[in-house]
Point group: none
Amino acid sequence: MKEEIQKQLNTTRRNQILDAAARVFAQKGFHPTTTRDIAKEAGIAEGTIYNYFESKAALLLGIFDRMSETARQDVDFLKITPGDIRTFLRVYFRQPLMALKSDNFELFRVIVSEIMVNQELRALYYHKILEPTLSISETIFQQWIDQQVIKPVNLKLTMRAISGMIMGLIVEYVMGDETLETRWEELPDFLADLILDGIKE
Amino acid sequence: MKEEIQKQLNTTRRNQILDAAARVFAQKGFHPTTTRDIAKEAGIAEGTIYNYFESKAALLLGIFDRMSETARQDVDFLKITPGDIRTFLRVYFRQPLMALKSDNFELFRVIVSEIMVNQELRALYYHKILEPTLSISETIFQQWIDQQVIKPVNLKLTMRAISGMIMGLIVEYVMGDETLETRWEELPDFLADLILDGIKE
Amino acid sequence: MKEEIQKQLNTTRRNQILDAAARVFAQKGFHPTTTRDIAKEAGIAEGTIYNYFESKAALLLGIFDRMSETARQDVDFLKITPGDIRTFLRVYFRQPLMALKSDNFELFRVIVSEIMVNQELRALYYHKILEPTLSISETIFQQWIDQQVIKPVNLKLTMRAISGMIMGLIVEYVMGDETLETRWEELPDFLADLILDGIKE
Amino acid sequence: MKEEIQKQLNTTRRNQILDAAARVFAQKGFHPTTTRDIAKEAGIAEGTIYNYFESKAALLLGIFDRMSETARQDVDFLKITPGDIRTFLRVYFRQPLMALKSDNFELFRVIVSEIMVNQELRALYYHKILEPTLSISETIFQQWIDQQVIKPVNLKLTMRAISGMIMGLIVEYVMGDETLETRWEELPDFLADLILDGIKE
DNA sequence: TATGAATGAGCATTCATTCAT
DNA sequence: CATGAATGAATGCTCATTCAT
């Protein structure tokens, strides 16, 4: 009983801290944010942070970990493949692109920035998000190939091209590209067509 | 005359410093690198750096600026459109993908990382690289459309999808993806086919 | 009755804590040891320590206090003066020198270190150990003088020289001197002769 | 030329910092002293300390190193052995005992305290002071033995007993013993007699 | 009494930048 | 222009102690 409650409290506090950290990181960036900032935002003492997290860097890992949980669920959802390849692809594209809510916008920048440079975070991203996503996608696309709905393309490269495209578009969006900002909603359908039909006349 | 020589000397010294900075940034990352590291690598005094650059951040901008010059020349080269769309696209993809020499590899990480987070650098990237590249690309692709070689697709979105794909693949490569590492050479041709023909049977 | 049991329990718990503290102090030193270390070693909660001791420093005082009790008993033992001065001196030297068991070795270092620097501990040492020891020794040696077994030397200085010699040898031993380490057992007899006969031919 | 001046300046600044550190350490102890205290006392910025010393601990080592230089010179002086053993011994004792000027008094406490607990400092003390002193002393005393002025005692133990006695007396003095404080001046002569003649009637 | 989460003052150290020489 | 010593603000993290449960 008591242990249960303790664990609950522990999780709550952890989330409280991660929420606060996510807010300040999003606002000021990772390096410019001080642990003092985070504590103040969370309404706790600085020392308390260290009762729940190893270091400031661990906070970013923690935030990322929570996010990757959501991502994992999204990927699972894809397994329920609909009959129509075009419909499937539209959903396939819609999910990550729309996950970029304005809330996550600035945070995303900070995390991408650190992923580039922080070995641990990079490994986490690779193994918890990129690899599983690619792996599941390959399985699904293989089914389409087997059903002769799509050509027997090089799956591994195709998956990487597609996921790279998504990642790249998000980065360009984050970069402030106006075209993408105004037409973001069109993207899923547009990309589905592009990938399926190509641009050749 | 003298002024000329002065200017020459100035440029040489600036480049000497930027080269040194690029090396250490690539090795240690931007934040972990100290101005002392850079001065030592360049074989000059710390103070001297500040005779040529405003700040440590200005060094990164300087490095990036030099790189974007190269990129600009690459893009110019594309204007000499060959008769064959497939050949063109292969060249189009080859350039940025192959620019990722092992030298630039780590530096790329550092720069992407800071672009995400540094407003000034981001603006520089957007206006000196992304925007011109997109703009020129649009012009070129418009010609292909006019020649009815490719479909009358939404050019702006297509350009962003393609450039995003390139950027995203580089990021995935940088991330340490093994498939991309071993098959990087195949990518230009593969992507040309993918974009032209689509994957639908 | 109940009070008696309470007191017993109290003492037991105090000793449990002091034992734990002594172990970790000996292992890590006073300053590097955290109250968390002590609590863990004692198998209790950090807060519990403060139900029995004022502060971390009080723990060292407590440890020292227990040790001085032993020392006091040793000194008392000396009062039973044997007939032979040489025998007496050998015993006199043997006691403190042999008290330096390997168990106490590291702890001794820590305590000497703090005695030097901690006013309260210093007072405790001076009044509970040094002063009584000197005082009793003076009384005993006075008897030897009265019996004309030893010269009518300046007793106060002699006592301080002798006790200082013991203390200094222990410090040198603690310092890692090899000669002392290998010949420690010979010391009591050797010192007795040295002090009694001098070195002059 | 310039290098010479630079070196001079460097040494001066180092000494300025060590002097300041010695004063504050003596006053507040090692651990309670902050680098800010030292900088303030030295009239420089905190960062400047780190241009000359690795760490706060290095300051203590530096102080100790300077002191050991003096000690070394004292020992060298002893080599000029006078004809009379008693005179020699009086000088032998006088030097370390009188080196304990009131200036060094509190600093001595701090250093002894840290020597007990700091491996590096302990090694420094052992190899730079204790060992050389013992070694030279043994040589000198051997001469006295050869001249049959003193008995063929166990030299190694004798030297350690004597040096220990000095160290122990200083510690007892530092401890605040009143007898030693008032009669400190008498000690050299007293100890010479004690060691030479013994106390036996 | 026992607990252990919360506290927050405290501190060594770093490093971009300045400026007298 | 070049130098590099001096600067001092800035910060992540620790840990003895408290106190509500």
